[in-house]
């Protein structure tokens, strides 16, 4: 029986015999463009984590003051104004949505949902100097009361670089089942 072999990691010693990366800011990190693929991926993972941990105020803080958040009800829906959407929030509505999620009398979140998100297949679709559009795939599992449901689809984020860090100027979420009948959506995608 062949013994299962672990791949041997090649150790590359840094000057001074260091194997691990030095802690703290390196020059490379300080000069890296936050809008590169890694920066965008890290941002999306942070966003997913904030949502999974129900830190909705922190999630809201990721958006610009004039942001919009859109979940169309039709595949390839060109416009949020000509037909209904599952969600179409400007910043003010998004704030109301988050404030509502903090309210203990929100019956549809009593008990609370537990969610688990996977974000993957991240690509940068359009890139400018201080903004880019990022496309990603996601799977979201939501468990509440006695049932579990799965959402999946494609997310588009327009990320902008601000003095406070990366922010979401707009976000569009295309669910694969966007035109299916479904129970209420309370936790944002």
């Amino acid at each position: 029986m062949a013994k299962l072999q672990r791949p041997k990691l090649k150790k590359v010693a840094a000057p001074g015999g260091r194997v691990t990366r030095p802690l703290g800011r390196s020059k490379r990190r300080a000069t890296r463009n936050p809008l590169d693929l890694t920066g965008c991926e890290q941002f999306l993972l942070l966003e997913a984590r904030l949502l999974d941990e129900a830190r909705f105020d922190d999630w809201l803080a990721l958006f610009t003051p004039d942001a919009w958040y859109w979940v169309p009800s039709q595949p390839d829906q060109p416009d949020p104004h000509e037909t209904v959407s599952l969600i179409y929030d400007d910043r003010r509505l998004l704030e109301t949505r988050v404030r509502r999620l903090a309210n203990p009398r929100m019956y549809s979140q009593e008990p609370r949902s537990r969610t688990s998100r996977m974000v993957s297949n991240v690509t940068i679709e359009e890139a400018g100097r201080a903004a880019c559009t990022v496309r990603s795939k996601f799977v979201l599992i939501e468990f509440r009361r006695d049932s579990q449901r799965i959402f999946g689809g494609t997310a588009f984020h327009c990320l902008v670089q601000t003095r406070g860090g990366l922010r979401i100027a707009w976000k569009r979420v295309d669910l694969v089942n966007c035109d299916a009948p479904m129970d209420g959506i309370t936790i944002p995608f």
């Binding site: 979940v71 009800s73 949020p80 104004h81 000509e82 037909t83 209904v84 959407s85 599952l86 969600i87 179409y88 509505l93 109301t96 949505r97 509502r100 929100m106 019956y107 549809s108 009593e110 479904m182 129970d183 209420g184 959506i185 309370t186």
Partner: protein, 93 residues
Amino acid sequence: MFRNTISFANTVNGTGSLVLTDDLEIYNRIGMGLSSEGAEWIEIGRGFDSDVPDAHGGRRGKNSTSEVYIRNTLEAWVGYMTNGHARGVRAAS
């Protein structure tokens, strides 16, 4: 105008809206309550003390949480079924 209608549907009636989601939850809980054998009576008295007469001979709630619409519906139904003869019941004309 059309845009306002779409916007209203999104925020009030839609599946991800700020209103309907709680309504769906409550409808679901009512269904579970009705299917249980724990309670023989359904209480529909909410808002009874604050309902006011309306111009059509019925009553209307002081606010949107009054259950006056259920009482009005039942009253009208009893009126139809008894041709207005049931005691204490307003006939629906």
